[in-house]
């Protein structure tokens, strides 16, 4: 859930519609969705709903209304399971508050309860704002999550006990119930003393197993990656040792893949322009055995206008890799607020543009023609012996 919050500022829409997330929900995801909308911690809203439910059931009505009017988030694949531990914690908390409210008459007092409710929410929001960095650290990590759930359950249980004792005392039944209570306390305490060490060792064992499993899974993932890519390539290199060109190509393509795996943010080449440019360059580099260095500044979502730009850029890379004779090709893509520009440059042999026959498809049709047909522009700068640079510009969709 925190992950979603941190991603919010980067969302394409400034004000995305509120949805009810499925993962991490406690009841129906209303509090979580609203929290994401308000950029608050879902815990704050959940507590607010619980608190307001105590006050004449207001929270329940609000929750139900939001539940009805908010669409559920689309999930692909299996639905994540509900966090029952949290639900139990909030349930117990609600019970305790209800008991307390009933005892003191605050809940039925109507307006009397408002200051408490509002004060509570205010205090929670203040707490939430206090030190976001530190709170985020607290809340992240599954182990922390579990322990906060325990704290919440403990607090709820304490409130229930206080509520019950208060009720008995108020109705004058405390003296009668005292012997029974003492007896129960002794029995429960005794059982706890017997079982506690066993429980503790069980919990420790479970945690140890869990970390071990995570570690093994990670090791397995790295091993699988190394095996599939690096070892495979090393085998191919040994087999092709006589063909220096092929060896270079293999090493280069493996280097690129490993680099992407290690350093590049995970990006989808069907969605992001920078990732798409990198993919095109990687494919042409593999096909022609000439390194293509890509530098991207900025990024944007791929749309139908940028398709022709990518095609033209690919053609320019093919020309540079195939005909220029340059040892390396540089590609530079820059996304600005209103346009996207891609430069493809080589320091190869160059050519005289006017000498290119009218029917040569590569330059005239695939690059210049394609860009102009689609509302963009292409400029080719070349001179014999001085390399070639193709500059492609396309306006972005407003």
């Amino acid at each position: 859930m925190l992950h979603e919050m941190t991603e919010m500022p980067n969302a394409p829409e400034a004000y995305p519609r509120m949805v009810r997330p499925v993962s991490g929900r406690v009841v129906a995801g209303v509090a979580q969705g609203a929290a994401a909308q308000l950029r608050l911690d879902p815990v704050v809203l959940r507590l607010a709903f619980v608190l307001l439910t105590v006050v004449d059931g207001l929270g329940f009505v609000a929750y139900a209304a939001l539940w009805m009017f908010t669409p559920r988030e689309q999930v692909n694949g299996r639905e994540p399971s509900r966090d029952w531990g949290q639900l139990a914690a909030y349930g117990v908390l609600w019970l305790a508050l209800a008991a307390f409210g009933w005892m003191t008459g605050a809940a039925s007092g109507g307006f009397g309860a408002w200051p408490i409710a509002i004060g509570g929410i205010g205090a929670l929001i203040l707490w939430q704002q206090a030190d976001p960095g530190r709170r985020k650290r607290w809340m992240s990590g599954a182990v922390r999550q579990v322990s906060t759930t325990w704290v919440r359950t403990g607090l709820g249980a304490l409130l229930v006990a206080v509520g019950a004792i208060g009720f008995l005392a108020a109705s004058g039944e405390l003296a009668k119930a005292r012997t029974g209570l003492v007896f129960t306390a002794v029995v429960v305490g005794g059982i706890l003393m017997i079982v506690a060490p066993w429980l503790a060792s069980l919990v420790k064992e479970l945690q140890r197993e869990r970390t071990e499993r995570i570690r093994q899974e990670e090791r397995a993932e790295v091993a699988a990656h190394v095996h599939d890519s690096v070892l495979h390539t090393l085998t191919l290199i040994q087999r092709n040792a006589h063909d220096s060109r092929e060896v270079t190509r293999l090493a280069r393509s493996q280097e690129r893949e490993l680099r992407n795996w290690l350093y590049q943010p995970k990006q989808d080449a069907d969605v992001s322009l920078a990732a798409a440019v990198r993919r095109v360059a990687a494919e042409e580099e593999d096909a022609h055995g000439v390194p293509i260095e890509v530098v991207c500044v900025g990024d944007c979502a791929l749309d139908e206008r940028l398709g022709p730009l990518l095609h033209a850029a690919r053609q320019a890379m093919v020309n540079a890799a195939k005909y220029s004779g340059a040892p390396v090709v540089s590609v530079y893509a820059e996304v600005e607020t209103d346009e996207v520009t891609i430069f493809v440059r080589d320091r190869g042999k160059g050519f005289v543009l006017d000498d290119v026959p009218e029917d040569r498809m590569g330059i005239r049709q695939s690059i210049i023609g394609r860009m102009e047909r689609n509302g963009g522009s292409a400029r080719v700068r070349t001179e014999p012996g001085d390399g070639t640079e193709v500059m492609l510009t396309m306006k972005r969709n407003p």
Binding site: Y263, P265, Q267, V295, G298, S330, E334
Partner: protein
Amino acid sequence: MKTVRVLIVDDHRLFRSGVRAELGPSIQVVGEAEDVDSAVAAIAELAPDVVLLDVHMPGGGGQEVLKRVLGSGSQVRFLALSVSDAAEDVIGVIRGGARGYVTKTISGTELTDAIVRVSEGDAVFSPRLAGFVLDAFASTEAPPIDPELDSLTQREREVLRLIARGYAYKEIAKELFISVKTVETHVSSVLRKLQLSNRHELSRWATARRLV
């Protein structure tokens, strides 16, 4: 022509000897070091003109060397040389005080040029570093705190763009109708901004890039 005295700091012996063999005659390799402690000691003892510094090394890496050497008031110049393309490493080592960043795929002649350039007090930007800088300085909506340090001039942007497009300094000079010296001045000024700007977005941008 004066020879430039260079110390190579890298934890891979094969790589050190490879660089040694590739460097041109204008470079004299005065020593090698393989970890942070030996690097700091060798710099103090040999006083090289330029230190070729690997980013990832046992004992804290290149940044630790920069911190200890530059922290003690030394004027030695550093050129970072790394296999890593991670923005975090690139920006980190430049902010730590290196005067340039090149990747290990660089050719011998280009590396020789870069060392000479750094020894003269100029900055060396690889296309990728130029791209990172453009990205980092563009990725802000907040108004800069110190306009002089926190934003690039139009001319500096043009120079960085050409570097990112794969132009050499000489080609940039020709393209923009300015002298190579002026190109060097612009790049040095960008380097200064990169090192001195306390816009925390810069560091945050570099780390955030890995976390996406």
